[in-house]
Symmetry: C2
Subunit: 357 residues, 2 copies
Amino acid sequence: MSQSAQPTFAAPAPLLGRIADVCRGRGLAGLADRLGALREWLGDELASVERELSSLPEGPRVVQASARHLLDLGGKHLRPMCVAIAAKIGTGFGEQARQLAVAVELVHSATLLHDDVIDGGDTRRGSPAARAIYGNAASIYAGDWLLVEALRRIRRAGIEGLVDDMLAVIEEMILAESIQLENRGRLGDGVSDYMRVVEGKTASLFRWAMRAGGRAGGLSEDHTDALERFGFHLGVAFQAVDDLLDLGGDASATGKDVLSDLREGKMTYPLVVAAARDSALAARLEAHLERPDGEDLAASEAAEISALVKASGGLEACRELAESRADEALKALSAIPDGAERRALAAVVHASIDRER
Amino acid sequence: MSQSAQPTFAAPAPLLGRIADVCRGRGLAGLADRLGALREWLGDELASVERELSSLPEGPRVVQASARHLLDLGGKHLRPMCVAIAAKIGTGFGEQARQLAVAVELVHSATLLHDDVIDGGDTRRGSPAARAIYGNAASIYAGDWLLVEALRRIRRAGIEGLVDDMLAVIEEMILAESIQLENRGRLGDGVSDYMRVVEGKTASLFRWAMRAGGRAGGLSEDHTDALERFGFHLGVAFQAVDDLLDLGGDASATGKDVLSDLREGKMTYPLVVAAARDSALAARLEAHLERPDGEDLAASEAAEISALVKASGGLEACRELAESRADEALKALSAIPDGAERRALAAVVHASIDRER
């Protein structure tokens, strides 16, 4: 890594080497500290976003209750942090940036509501998923409702082009979901499909968050472009770490079982890489993917698959992907003037890839 | 009725008296003629909308295939007709109006895709529903995709306020769906809930179509307001006729079974009125609504319920609702200068309430 976070954000180096420990669900205290330091630095700015998220128009309606339930489960709010920090590089975090920060979290929440319906997910952030309480139909409409609320806020911010950009991001997300749907039950086209899904589902929204914050802060096109690159690579790195945790995490630390993505018929990067290198494992994964929904992966089989993935170097490849994209993200920051905001963005990279989930 | 359609659109008077026949699935030839005359009058304008609907970006993706399937099933395209005619009252049907006409049909199609998922519908427009071919997940994302495509087109038309108006319409639709979801399995709050659902799910989009066309045609605020009132009442009348057909139609004429709404746990206006007047029927309907999904309504029971609804005057009340709203729609037209367009809008009212499905 070419650059490490500054002491301001309590970011010890080297951070990336610790991912392996994190994956075993150990030694997580430093991560919470680092995000905590960022949150403290953002102070009132992030608090005002969170206040707005917790005061969406309420009503007696089951759709609103479903959306409310998900929002009340909290989350890391990394995407609003991205908007806030990008805005602060420029003229600061004003009302426009606040609306955009709320909007990006609403879009992210909408995708979680829909994902849980599609995947039949029963838990989310360690609690019952909204669909488990209010039903699938309410979660579908709740996701739609949050998208509408998000687009309204982006419109209200009144910055030329951001509504169109978000519509393009939502379309990218949908097409990525489409690839994932088509590949459900089969191995798919390997790394190229994997990258299209990750770039569409995760990186595109981080990219938008950085662009939106930069635009709200009145930054130059050059700086906004650099921030977009930062967000894009950060998003891929973030997802690669999710994939590592899927193999190495334990439910008590991450709220998810080992190989829970495979259980939902989805290929993670370590599995994609391992399947390409080990044809016997590929056949075994394919057999599992072809099973009807709901049939579970036995613990012994999960342990064997995990061991084979590790033996094939799938975990290392995924760690390399996370590290190289984290590196790219940090490199993109070199176009941004040094200062507390640039260090904060570096800390977001570290907190994102070195985390419990 | 205060006004009847002009001969231009082959609309014989009195039209509304024929609803009863229509409900029995007879004497439908005149309706097709009347819509046909309207379509001929709109000629290239409607054809250009339909060309655009059939040439949405295609791709290998299951989500696009799912959306494509629904769009290819056609439909009456009444909402685009509303946009086109409203624009022609003003400066004419140009590129802006065309984009708005495509957008309104895309939003309508999105709601059909989502409705079929929520209701578990297997057929649509007499063919297999998209979800029956491509699955629920693809239909959920296909609906989202069409909403995005619609919002993009509205943005592209560049008329101040129309994106916000459509976001408000989509929110109204979602809240109406929410009321319907909450009332699934029970009678609900009668006429007031019914009206909120109909106004949110159906009338709001017709209202937007008229406003959008009027704005694209450069009409004054007074004229646009009148067209909105027209669209709003037309929408309620339209739905009331759907409800009549649900009780009186036969599957060969309408593609739907008798009481298919009740089978999906939904209360139509004749049922709402009849339940308020006949407590024994109310108890019977409630018992049916409480049954678990998938349990069917026996033909003999459907016939008995239909007979009780008719005996209580539920059908007459629904017919009166359709007639009074059709009347209101036609009254709203009095603010619009007389001419071929005003007569065309009157013909849309007649074609909407006097139809096979």
